[in-house]
Symmetry: C2
């Protein structure tokens, strides 16, 4: 059996995967840009802030900085800055952890919870309208395909 690809099959396969990636990237960048723009115009906020609020919304008791950066798959230093600005906005508070003076828990304020609940509803409708070219059938096929894609080499799945 040959160790080299004499028929060009592998090469064609690689090109198909590259096409998928470029298309995936284009779509997600378009949608992301649109969402960032709408968050900016309609809610005077940003996607990173929205993402942090979304993570905290799911955890009634708040999250440690490290848990937050793990959940969002971004660096610790990154979260520090975003949370700082959210504190300034009055959306979250930092609470010291009793028993560990290194750690901090971040929690939504009442305002943060209310504001996010509203934004999340509107956000969901944006997504639905952006993706309304998909038939219900296509949507089912797509969700199924995407759910089974475990990217090789990626840190957290």
């Amino acid at each position: 059996m040959s160790l080299v690809d004499e028929t060009g099959v592998t090469d064609e396969r690689d090109k198909q995967r590259l096409r998928i990636w470029l298309r995936l990237l284009k779509i997600s960048r378009q949608m992301e840009a649109e969402i960032r723009e709408r968050l900016r115009v309609e809610f005077a906020t940003t996607l990173p802030r929205f993402d942090v609020l979304a993570a905290l919304y799911r955890e009634k008791d708040g999250m440690k900085m490290s848990a937050l950066s793990a959940a969002l798959m971004v660096s610790n230093g990154n979260v520090t800055g975003i949370v700082e600005r959210l504190v300034t906005d009055g959306m979250v508070v930092r609470v010291p952890v009793s028993g560990d003076r290194r750690a901090m828990i971040v929690q939504l304020t009442d305002k943060g919870r209310e504001d996010f609940a509203h934004m999340a509803k509107v956000h969901e409708s944006w997504i639905a309208s952006m993706l309304d070219m998909l038939s219900d059938q296509d949507a089912d096929v797509l969700v199924d395909l995407l759910d089974n894609m475990q990217i090789k080499g990626a840190k957290t799945q």
Copy 2:
């Protein structure tokens, strides 16, 4: 006919679209992070730089700054900075446009062309390996679905 959704059908549909978006976003972020990391470690470069080189590689005669930012769907000011650093790296040159003293054409240098050709080959193999959980059949279905997704509201398609 009722104007409100009394059966929750619309709501379920919206949630399905949101699932698709979250999954799409997760996958593209994972892949992007992996690609950034590899570009950094193996080629000491960044994704934005790679993207600019890729655009210029396709255009033998170079591109005006405005054409470049349109092709990459990023702001003009953004391209200014990236090109500046690529010039420092010796990968591209700026050439004044005869007949229009406002404009600049950016072109790959010989080094830029050679370096990019190599990186592009390796890059393609990264993508193929990251997506090798897809059967050829799934890949065909996916490429077809993605090709037909024209995001509503997005600037350029």
